[in-house]
C-alpha cells in the first residue's frame, strides 16, 4: 500500500512550532520588560497583571482546540470519518495543553488580584476548567483503551458531552452570580488597553496561534504515522497466523 509522504508536513510542523515557541518566549520577555505597567491604584497586584499576556492567548488557543475537538467529535459521530477522529485526538491533546495553561495562570493571577484563586462566578474560568477536565479524560482514555469503533464512539460522545457542559456552566454561573455578586476587576481583558500593551497582547496571541498550528500539524502527522504502524502490525498478525 502506498502512503503519501509526510516528511515535508513534519518538517513544516517543526518549523512552525519552533516559530511559535520563540514567539511565546518573546511575549513573556516583552510582557515583563517592555509592556508598561497598569495603574497601581486601580489594581491590587499590578505586576501580576503581566501574566495576562500568556493567560489570554492561552484561552484563545484552547478555545480553538476545544472547537477542533467538538467538530471532530461531531464528524466522527455522524460519518465515522478518520479525519474527525484525528481532530478529536489533536483537539483533546491541545485542549489539555492550552486549557491547563488557562486554569493555571488564571488562579495565580486571581489569588493575588482578587485574594482568592477561584471565582465560582467567573464563567470563562469555570468553562475552561470543565473542558480541560474533559480533555484530560479523553487524553488518558485514548491511551488506556483499546482503539476501535466502540471506544471511539464513546469518547466522541464524551467530547460532545463536554460541549454540552458549556451552556450548562453558563446557566449555573449566571445563577451563582445572582446570589454572590462577582468579583469585578476590569470590565474585560483588553478593554481600554494602552497601545503598547495591546501590541504585546496581539503579538502573544499570534504567537500562540502559530504554536497551535505547528502542534496541530505535528499531531496530525503523528496520528497518521501511528495509524500506518498499526496497520502494518495487523498485516504482520495475519502473516503470523
Amino acid at each position: 500500500m502506498m502512503y503519501p509522504d509526510l516528511s515535508i508536513k513534519i518538517r513544516n510542523g517543526i518549523i512552525v512550532t519552533s516559530i511559535g515557541i520563540f514567539g511565546i518566549i518573546s511575549t513573556a520577555l516583552l510582557g515583563v520588560f517592555y509592556a508598561p505597567g497598569v495603574d497601581p491604584i486601580a489594581w491590587n497586584a499590578p505586576e501580576a497583571q503581566r501574566i495576562f499576556y500568556w493567560h489570554v492567548p492561552f484561552a484563545w488557543s484552547s478555545f480553538m482546540a476545544f472547537s477542533m475537538l467538538f467538530i471532530g467529535a461531531l464528524s466522527w459521530y455522524r460519518n465515522r470519518s478518520e479525519w474527525g477522529w484525528r481532530w478529536v485526538s489533536t483537539g483533546s491533546d491541545l485542549g489539555l495543553l492550552f486549557g491547563a495553561g488557562v486554569v493555571t495562570s488564571g488562579p495565580i493571577w486571581g489569588s493575588v488580584e482578587w485574594g482568592v484563586p477561584w471565582d465560582w462566578g467567573d464563567l470563562r474560568l469555570n468553562t475552561f476548567a470543565l473542558l480541560t477536565g474533559v480533555a484530560l479524560f479523553l487524553v488518558l482514555s485514548r491511551r488506556s483503551q483499546p482503539d476501535g469503533q466502540e471506544t471511539r464512539d464513546t469518547l466522541a460522545a464524551i467530547g460532545l458531552f463536554g460541549f454540552a457542559l458549556v451552556p450548562i456552566t453558563a446557566i449555573a454561573t449566571t445563577l451563582y452570580q445572582k446570589r454572590h455578586p462577582g468579583i469585578v476587576v476590569v470590565d474585560g481583558e483588553g478593554a481600554g488597553l494602552d497601545p503598547m500593551m495591546r501590541a504585546v497582547l496581539m503579538f502573544g496571541t499570534i504567537s500562540f496561534m502559530v504554536l497551535f498550528i505547528g502542534l496541530s500539524m505535528l499531531s496530525d502527522s503523528l496520528l497518521r504515522l501511528e495509524d500506518r504502524v498499526e496497520q502494518a502490525k495487523r498485516r504482520l498478525d495475519e502473516v503470523n497466523q
Binding site: Y77, R80, W120, A129, L130, G133, V134, L136, F137, L140, S141, S144, Q145, P146, G148, Q149, E150, T151, D153, T154, L155, A157, I158, L160, F161, A164, L165, I168, T169, I171, A172, L175, Y176, K178, R179
Partner: protein
C-alpha cells in the same frame, strides 16, 4: 455478529432489520446510529450474561418474563430438570460450576422460543462451549425441536457437530462469505405446554431484578453509605464542637449536605454487576435503548440522601451558633430530593464511562466535576432556609428557586449523558 444482530454493537454500514410475524419490518440498528428495541427473542451470549447474585430458577423466570411468557413453578422445575439443574434451582449462580452456569445460560436463551406457541428468534453464541456430553445432547435435541416448530435459531459456532444440526450454514472465512444448505431428519418430540403470551415486561423486570439482587447482597447501599458516614464523622471531628462555625450558614449547609452528595456521586455497584459475565449486554439487548435511562435511575442513590441529611443534621446541629430558623428540620428533605436528581446524573456519567472496554482504566471523576454546580445551589438554598426560613416565593434569590435550578442543572447533565451516546 450476534451482538450486531441484536442491536448492542454499532455497525459501520447497512442495517439490521427484523420482520415480525405480521410481516412488519423493524430496523433494530443501522450505521447512522438508529437503535430500537427488538421483538421478544431468546439470547445466550458467549460469556453467559448472568450476574452471580441471581438464583438459578430466577434466571429462567426472568428470561421468560422479559419475553412475555410466564410458566408456573412446576413447569420451571421441569425445564430445569431437562438440563440437570432442578436440584440447584434455589442456588445462586455464583455457586455453580462453569459448566452448570453455561447450561443455565443456554437453557435461558432457548426457553423463550421453546415455550412460546408463535415462532420466535433465538440467538446462541457458541452454545456448546463448556457443555458436557449430556448437555450437548439436550442442546442438539432442543435445536431440532425449535426448528421443527418453525422458530429461527441463529447460532454462531465453531463446533462442526452443532453445525450438522443446522439447516443453513453461513461460513465467514478470510473475509469471504459462503452458504450451504443442510437437511435434518424428522424427529419425535415430547408434548410441551406453551405459556400464554403477554406483552413483554422488560424494564419492570430489570427494576425488579436489580432490587432483588441488591436486597440479597446490598453492596451498592453499603458502598455508598460508607464514604458518606466517614465524611460525616470527619466533619464532626473537625467542627463538631459547640458553636464552632459562628453563624457561617454556608459552611454549615455544605457540611450537612456533603455526606448525601458523596453517596450520590460514588460509582454504583450496579455498574460492576452489569459488567459481570456481560450481564449488562444481555439486559441491553433485551431492553433496547431504554436500558440506559432505566439503569441511571435504578443504580442511583435513592434511599440514602434523606436519612443521611437528617443524620448529618442531628450530628452537626450543635456546631452552629446564631439564630437558625427552627423550622429548618422540616425542610431538609427538599435538598435531599434534589440530591437524588444529582445521583441520577452522576450514575448516567458513570454509565457513559462504563461503555469503554476498559472502563476501570478511565477517570470518571473528571466528568463528575460539573455536579459541583447543583451542590453549590443546594448549599445556597439550605443556608437561606437556615437564615430566613423556607419561603415559597419564586424570585431568583429564594431557596425554592435555588432548589429548582439545582434540579434543572442535574436534569440537563443527566439528559446529555443519557441521550448523546444513543443519538
Amino acid at each position: 455478529m450476534i451482538e450486531s444482530l441484536i442491536g448492542i454493537l454499532p455497525i459501520t454500514s447497512g442495517q439490521v432489520k427484523w420482520i415480525s410475524n405480521d410481516g412488519e419490518p423493524l430496523i433494530v440498528r443501522d450505521h447512522l446510529g438508529t437503535r430500537r428495541k427488538p421483538l421478544p427473542f431468546g439470547l445466550t451470549l458467549q460469556s453467559d450474561g448472568i450476574c452471580g447474585e441471581e438464583k438459578v430458577r430466577e434466571r429462567l423466570e426472568i428470561a421468560l418474563k422479559v419475553s412475555g411468557l410466564n410458566l408456573n413453578q412446576d413447569e420451571i422445575i421441569t425445564a430445569l430438570d431437562e438440563w440437570g439443574l432442578s436440584h440447584r434451582s434455589e442456588d445462586r449462580v455464583s455457586q455453580l460450576s462453569a459448566g452448570l452456569r453455561r447450561r443455565l445460560a443456554v437453557l435461558s436463551g432457548m426457553a423463550p422460543a421453546l415455550f412460546c406457541e408463535t415462532p420466535r428468534m433465538i440467538f446462541l453464541d457458541e452454545p456448546s462451549e463448556g457443555l458436557d456430553s449430556f448437555s450437548r445432547g439436550v442442546l442438539k435435541s432442543w435445536i431440532c425441536e425449535l426448528s421443527e416448530k418453525g422458530n429461527a435459531a441463529v447460532i454462531a459456532t465453531h463446533d462442526e457437530e452443532i453445525m450438522s444440526y443446522s439447516t443453513r450454514i453461513v461460513r465467514v472465512e478470510s473475509g469471504k462469505i459462503s452458504e450451504t444448505s443442510n437437511s435434518i431428519g424428522k424427529q419425535e418430540f415430547k408434548e410441551r405446554k406453551f405459556s400464554t403470551e403477554k406483552s413483554s415486561q422488560t424494564i419492570s423486570s430489570f427494576f425488579s431484578w436489580g432490587l432483588s439482587i441488591e436486597s440479597r447482597n446490598p453492596i451498592d447501599t453499603i458502598g455508598k453509605a460508607t464514604p458518606a458516614i466517614l465524611a460525616l464523622l470527619l466533619s464532626y471531628s473537625i467542627v463538631g464542637r459547640t458553636n464552632a462555625m459562628n453563624s457561617d450558614y454556608e459552611l454549615f449547609s455544605a457540611l450537612i449536605l456533603a455526606p448525601a452528595f458523596i453517596s450520590a456521586v460514588v460509582s454504583p455497584a450496579m455498574i460492576l454487576r452489569l459488567s459481570e459475565q456481560d450481564c449488562g449486554k444481555w439486559w441491553s439487548a433485551i431492553c433496547g435503548p431504554q436500558i440506559r435511562p432505566a439503569t441511571s435511575v435504578l443504580a442511583a442513590s435513592i434511599i440514602l440522601p434523606i436519612p443521611l441529611t437528617y443524620l448529618s443534621w442531628f450530628v452537626l446541629e450543635g456546631s452552629i451558633s446564631g439564630n437558625i430558623d427552627q423550622g429548618t428540620i422540616y425542610w431538609l428533605w427538599l435538598p435531599s430530593l434534589v440530591i437524588m436528581d444529582i445521583s441520577c446524573a452522576a450514575t448516567a456519567l458513570h454509565l457513559l464511562v462504563s461503555d469503554l472496554r476498559r472502563s476501570s482504566a478511565a477517570v470518571a471523576s473528571l466528568l463528575l466535576v460539573v455536579l459541583i454546580w447543583p451542590f453549590i445551589q443546594l448549599v445556597d438554598a439550605l443556608s437561606m432556609i437556615l437564615d430566613t426560613g423556607m419561603t415559597w416565593d419564586l424570585s431568583t434569590s429564594s431557596p425554592l428557586m435555588s432548589l429548582i435550578f439545582a434540579s434543572i442543572i442535574s436534569l440537563m447533565v443527566w439528559a446529555v449523558a443519557i441521550f448523546i451516546p444513543d443519538a
